[in-house]
Amino acid sequence: MRRVVAPISDPYGLFQRDTSGVIASAVIDNLASAPVIAFVVAAVATLLKADIRLPDGLYSILSTFLLLAIGVKGGKALGQARLAEIWAPLLAAVVLGVVTPIIAFLLLRSAGRLDRIESAALAAHYGSVSAVTFTMILAFLDASGEPYEGFLAGLLAILEVVGIIVALSLARGDGQRWIEGVSEVLRGRSVTLLVGGLVIGLVVGGERLAPTDPVFVGLFTGALTLFLLEMGVVAAERLSDVAKMGWRIVALGIVVPLINGSLGAVAGSVAGLSTGGTAVFATLAASASYIAAPAAVRIALPSASPGLYVTASLGITFPFNIIVGVPIYVAIAKAIT
């Protein structure tokens, strides 16, 4: 991960000018990356009733590894960042954590015609983030040589948590359950592994971490590819549920990330991030949680239907984001920075 040393000036408007061409090639590069193709291959195989599932246990090993590795990488970068660069993005992350679930909630209540509980349940997913979608934008930027601020992984945990807490509050549900749901997020593996990795990366530092690089750095993209293979199976299994959902929810599963992503881009650029960093911010805002949020919502809002929120997050928004969304958010970032 390269750290942005000088702000990127683009005096000749290279990015702006032929945006469409750049995007087209970027979309293809993204579409043909190993993780995306693994996702598509697994989804197609599953629809053809072939068994391409990873062995039980590998799924949670991979997700544990990815969360830790993201944290370690972010912690390393955080240790090299100056406080002056961080505070604005940090504030922007908190603001996004508050605003994106509210927007999702309002859209789901009005355009989506869902009741308060279901809307809040779904809003928790769109207010939180997906660590895997986050890694997809990083891989995309790495592949296209676009620099970004490495410390953004340090904000992942904040974005993950705040949105869920806000959305659960919008449900105006049982106070005891709210506490249990929030504690489920804070004590759950997806937050602890990320934060644990951050602390390890921060305290140990890049130099002393070098002997672990073959694992935490070297294995990363391969592990991500395997993980997306399994995600392809999971998403394909949800497809019949997607068909059963109303078209309104399906549409919102694409519209909400586009709106939140645009907001994220604005927030990122106002916070002074580079083009790459702004794209990352946009992607984070657009991404929907499918690990931390479902667990918390299941505990806090038991009457909300997991068939709705998990399907929307995993079956619609996740594939949309990793296949089509990521290049779009990059384009938006390029347009406004």
Binding site: D56, G57, Y59, S60, E180, E184, E230, V233, V234, E237, Y290, I291, P294, A295, R298, I299, P302, S303, G307, V310, L314
Partner: protein
């Protein structure tokens, strides 16, 4: 061998409930329990080993009163909202004071 009757209560519940279920079972009087993991199907569809994890299968040997208490609690707090299934059967144990 001198055997005494106790009740074996088996509960299958979605993974996210594991911690809460254990707390509840202990609070309602169980002195022990064993947990394994299963995949399966039921009224709420298919449950596999991925993202949310396989379902919890909890077994606890308890007295009849404790079994009733746990079942009653499941009926009010779990059955309405969660993918939970439970069945009860009498078993013989050698050390009745343990359960």
């Amino acid at each position: 061998m001198n055997l005494t009757e106790r009740q074996l209560l088996t509960i299958v519940a979605e993974a996210v409930l594991e911690r809460r279920l254990v707390d509840d079972v202990k609070r309602l009087g169980a002195h022990g329990y064993s947990i394994g993991h299963v995949t399966g199907e039921g009224a709420t569809g298919r449950r596999t080993a991925d993202w949310s994890g396989p379902s919890v299968r909890l077994e606890t040997v308890v007295t009849e009163e404790v079994a009733e208490a746990i079942l009653a609690h499941l009926a009010t707090d779990y059955f309405p909202h969660y993918a939970t299934v439970a069945w009860l059967m009498p078993v013989s144990v050698a050390r009745p004071d343990r359960y």
